[in-house]
């Protein structure tokens, strides 16, 4: 029980730090990658809260597909910028 408390405090602090970096970072790619890491930590907290279904869904969608969509948008934009 003590271990669970300590782990949840560490996870909560890490969640807040990574979210702050993701929002404040000037580099767009870095911001997106920190969002992916935030998603991964959210998966850990879902497992701690005994929600395996939600953890599986968040792991596939939050840190996989959403990140891919962000990266594709930034890539296509970079292409157009270099053309001009």
């Amino acid at each position: 029980m003590m271990l669970l408390d300590i782990v949840s405090i560490v996870i909560g602090a890490l969640l807040l730090i990574i979210a702050f970096v993701a929002i404040q970072s000037k580099d767009l790619i870095k911001s997106v990658l920190f969002l992916s890491g935030l998603s991964m930590l959210a998966v850990v907290s879902f497992v701690l809260l005994k929600a395996p279904d939600v953890a599986l869904t968040e792991a596939v969608i939050g840190s996989g597909l959403v990140t891919a969509l962000f990266i594709f948008t930034l890539l296509s934009v970079k292409k157009e910028g270099s053309k001009k």
Binding site: P52, D53, A55, L56, T57, A59, V60, I61, G64, L65, A68, L69, F72, T73, L75, S76, K79, E80
Partner: protein, 250 residues
């Protein structure tokens, strides 16, 4: 100045939320929840239409709803109407993406500009099969283990994403996805209407539910989850395709 104002505003909101939740006696302390006072107690015992006693894994037969995964039994049985609405929202958002990014006439792939070597090409084809099989497994066992149509469909979409990443020339047939998506969506509604005709209300579980814990159990639930998985998978694959193509003019 504007940042300071936003900072004060959001900190005030956070303090207000925490203190109002602490002062509210109806809001339970973290971890100190009594399930028996909530409606979830009925979902857990599968006794919404009258008391059926406890459910035992592998022994209870013909329960009200035969899923061993209690989250699944809520998502596609007790609250299936919510899920139908949710699938509609996803359909509308993929329609919006197609409207905004779809270009009439000839389309070309967004080139990722690297040459895939032999290992990458073969390895990605092999991994594609494994990820696809995992997705199908997760969908089919949605009523027994964690998972189900939503994560399984997303896994199918990520296997398609892998093919797109590994090969610059690769294009899927978007039209096939559109057909699959609309067929799965209409079949979901038809299953609901069958419940209305064969039993008493829309989306009712009209098949026999079998023994809790068997693969062939839970009546209509696995069918609905397969349909949801196909729909989610084809929709997200379509979204990925739209993000990776661009018109000739752009």
């Amino acid at each position: 100045m504007k940042k300071l104002f936003a900072f004060v505003l959001t900190i005030g909101l956070g303090v207000l939320m925490i203190f109002s939740l602490r002062a509210n006696t109806l809001f339970p302390e973290f971890g100190d929840v009594s399930i028996a006072d909530r409606i979830s107690a009925l979902f857990l015992d599968k006794s919404v239409n009258g008391d059926n006693g406890d459910v035992v894994f592998g022994q209870t037969t013909d329960a009200e709803d035969g899923a061993a995964n209690l989250v699944t039994s809520i998502v596609v049985d007790y609250r299936s109407f919510d899920t139908l609405g949710e699938v509609t929202v996803l359909f509308i958002s993929s329609l919006g993406v197609a409207l905004l990014l779809g270009v009439a006439g000839k389309q070309k792939r967004l080139a990722l500009n690297f040459k895939p070597n032999f290992m990458l090409r073969v390895g990605s084809r092999a991994l594609f099969g494994i990820i696809l099989m995992t997705g199908v497994y997760v969908i089919l066992h949605g009523h027994l283990t964690p998972g189900g149509g939503f994560p399984g469909g997303a896994m199918i979409a990520s296997s398609i994403l892998l093919l797109y990443l590994a090969d610059d020339e690769f294009r899927t047939k978007v039209k096939g996805f559109k057909v699959l998506e609309s067929v799965a969506g209409s079949l979901y509604v038809i299953v609901g209407l069958l419940g209305l005709v064969l039993a008493t209300y829309f989306l009712q579980n009209f098949l026999p539910t079998g023994t809790v814990g068997d693969l062939f159990s839970a009546g209509v639930l696995p069918i609905v989850y397969v349909l949801i998985g196909l729909k989610v998978g084809s929709e997200i694959s379509g979204i990925i395709d739209h993000f990776l193509t661009e018109g000739d003019l752009a």
